[in-house]
Symmetry: D3
Subunit: 223 residues, 6 copies
């Protein structure tokens, strides 16, 4: 039986974890690796700052160490990919970050990717990351919906803002593919894609799909 | 039942097709999409020049049109990704190229990717492609094993040359991940990785894994 | 007597060919190479998609092979430079593409080039090409006039749209030189330049000028 | 009296701290800001992995919060700039990282900078950082002296290895300026510069110089 | 006693020189190097064209040669950094340019820098320079206030235009740090920063701070 | 009768001017623009430093002003393109630089260009220029033959060194096209190309070919 993919949501929100779990459910298969989503009890309610990003690395590493023996792969399910490289150092399993995989998946769907961030303060952090990834020549823009946590519970408003931002990315900045710049928003993906008219990548799906493929391949013999 | 992923090997070689089929076999699952590998009868024995690349686009498009109704996704299984963008225009299905996916997968495994080409004449073609992908800041080097088709049948010699080139990419050019710059060579992947000591991406596996993930996700409801 | 420059218009339009012929006429000189413009009977009426681009490569190569013995140089007169690298492989003559030469000429006239495309669907194809050329740091934007073939026959409307797009490229995107992103539109060049107030490159002229220079130099002795 | 520059050495080594203190001593002046160097008791003996880097962020933030009221500026004195952006979010003071400042200073001294790392495992981390900084077009190479902690106490051997690596960076990779890729090695700077024959930047000096300048300017009126 | 930093304003304006002198005054310290600002009698009233830039190099070199024996470092105080590399060749002292240092300082304060130019004709010159610096991936935009020399004496109008341009750089182009693209305007820095809400770098201050730090370090023993 | 192309060799060497004149002779045609080569009496014997580059701008501008009324175009025939942008400001004619045109021509002949410099001190100057041109992604390397002026008169030795450097650029740095990094060396071009086996661009020929094409086009009506 294949070892599971562990999807670590580094905040403490059970709601976000449940959304992620629902988003990646179609990637489960009978003979394939399980996909186990979990939150970090020690994590903040949401990861909104560089401090939050850096602060969850140690608990991620600790959690992953506990899971190591049985793990097929790890996915870090926060769009800042906290602890991605630290966990790659620590673990003998392959580690996928949702920002990295989300952007890479977008590169197969359009020539210039736009990113929809929740908060404006996330944007410079994203830009540093895209620079480290070396993909700035494919970058259109990163714009935020600028809604606070409380406002995110208003689904209509959230979708409306995402569509507005998505259209601006497409029409003003030349994006022909969008990446959702956070986890836990898969429920908006199809509607957003329909409204803006260009592909939209949900990053946890992108990362877990790559992780599942990896586990299947690595656990087969001969290659 | 999920529509299959069609993996189109654009040369006419049944041997290459069989190798690809074996390489991607672990990605098949009970409830998941089938993975159907096929060669192009009209294709050349091998794709070695830009002329070969451009020349197979029309037969690829024709073949894909025949398969469209039943297809879940397409994979073009030649490291020059012939017809990738033309098929994306033509088809309502998602289309994956093995060069694109192989390089993107490598970006999750190391900071600078090296490519092992078969022929030296492929290298400028690869460089144009990596430039179009916007990933030159992550590029270490692309070196060829410089073996003719006849010589490739000598497996020991082929692996020996791959290991030599892989070590040069690592030691002289700073590569920390390698991409095999052709299809049909998956049988060398594990040995090469072991000998050079850095991860090696087999590009048909990388592309088919992404395609399978996409089919699973797109055929589920709601996202 | 110098061998001629063959300018291959890869669509079947005699009108476009005649426009190109008129555009490059000033580059003909008594002792210099002739400039022979021709269309491809097998080509589509216009090249509007990646499929069209890839589809004309084989007829271009066949036509060029027929002309090889007598050729001084080749120019491929379509802004997607179809078959450029395949013909470079096949031919012992030098081969110039109008997109490549048009953009390079623009780099001598301004710091950031803008491109005026006919159709919005051409833009990602252009971007891939500029990426492969490695000139994205000099790129301002690529915008389309979005006129269908029928509408292009309305010259006033076409020029009006070109001027609008040219001004947007200059004022909103910082372009200080423009490239016309198609062949056969030389008649608008001067008016466009006058109206927008920055240099405008007509790409067939740019490419044929380089080709003529090359033939003169290569057919002289000693250098 | 000007508020001091706090130089936080995020490892627990008093030796390294003393070396830094000596290196920046010439930047102290009568009327200028004090320069206070301190180590983190909670830090590891040396920062050698991404895990170490991420792990010291929380103690750095805590220490800096304690010092905030009286601080003129902060310098993070580890070549991975741990916590740089998190501290910029937290603090109302300006924050300087020695990797960032060391590389920027190098850009004023040569066209291509080479970096001398201690350990080979640091190199991909450095590359990600230089990518995030957007300076890869100025990057020559990053090579390590590959000495373990115990071996570093052998000063002759350390300098010998630094000179070897520096010469390789200059002769094989075209570097015309070097950056020392760690803190606490200022005592080798002059000898290294003399032996290799190109400028060598000691990064704590580069960062503290900028910090002192900033404090002087910000504490004056009117500008 | 430390040798002074000579700040060469390459135009002939005593007003600009006095402004620079005032801007850098806080960087003077009892035991530190003096900071001596001077204008070039042979310089034009203002440096507004590439011709002006190239034309002042010879007088800058002559003036610097006269000062060489006693100099600790040189700063060239014009945002086109005229003669920067020529003086680096000629002098045994370190030479700082205000454009180079201003942009590098901005890279420590934000992820994307915007530049406020006086004249629109300066912009392509700036872009060439930022390209030579290799920092275009961090570049937001460069926009001008488009005021003539006479209009610059109207301080309210000048500040108003700077604020307008600064806000456009921030809101439309994503700049999160600004660089003042000329010398002699330090008096607007604080007000501009307050009005736009992102950090503003005054480039003579950035350069002189680095120069002072260098002199202090180089005149100390042992490092 | 077409106005001539003025080729300004900014050094005072009649030998270099004569070499340039011979190199571009095949570009003269009966009805075409004349090509007039001239040296600058005020120029140094050779341009070897940034100081030399900057120092010849004023005499170039003066000379060009004298020639303006009758000029069709200008070519600045020194591989540092001194005064290129200043002359573009001053003149109503188009101005071509041999470094710019030589590199751009190389981009049509190979994917990675190598440059053969005379002196090692020219290399950082070249790199700044290629950075300003935005073509570093296509750059292989720039290496010098390191011969002094006296040694250059030994033609065998000069060619031998050029071939050595050309082979290193090809074999070690992946160049597939070479640019001669100085004027006046056209006599070595064919032999160098033959010996190294990849195309070699002589930059005065590249620039004058573009200039002649421009004059022909601009002096025709209607386009």
């Amino acid at each position: 039986m294949a070892s599971p993919v562990y999807v670590i949501n580094p905040n403490s929100s059970q709601t976000v974890m449940a959304e992620i779990d629902k988003a990646v459910a179609p990637l489960r298969s009978a003979g394939g690796p399980g996909i186990v989503c979990l939150s970090l009890a020690e994590g903040p309610p949401g990861i909104q700052s560089q401090r939050d990003v850096d602060g969850v690395v140690t608990p991620i590493l600790r959690k992953a160490a506990d899971l190591e023996a049985n793990a097929g792969a790890f996915v870090i399910a926060c769009f800042s990919d906290p602890g991605l490289h630290a966990l790659r150092e620590q673990s003998r399993r392959r580690v996928f970050g949702i920002a990295e995989c989300g952007v890479l998946a977008a590169l197969t769907l359009g020539q210039r990717f736009g990113v929809i961030a929740i908060l404006p303060t996330s944007i410079p952090r994203h830009l540093r990351y895209f620079g480290a990834m070396g993909v700035m020549d494919r970058f259109a823009a990163d714009l935020s919906i600028s809604l606070g946590v409380a406002e995110l519970s208003d689904e209509d408003r959230t979708l409306t803002r995402m569509v507005e931002v998505g259209r601006t990315l497409k029409d003003m900045h030349g994006a022909d593919v969008l990446v959702m710049g956070c986890a836990g928003m898969a429920r908006y993906r199809a509607a957003l894609e329909g409204a803006v008219g260009i592909p939209v990548v949900e990053p946890t799906q992108a990362a877990v799909a790559m992780a599942v493929g990896h586990v299947r391949l690595s656990q087969a013999l001969a290659f």
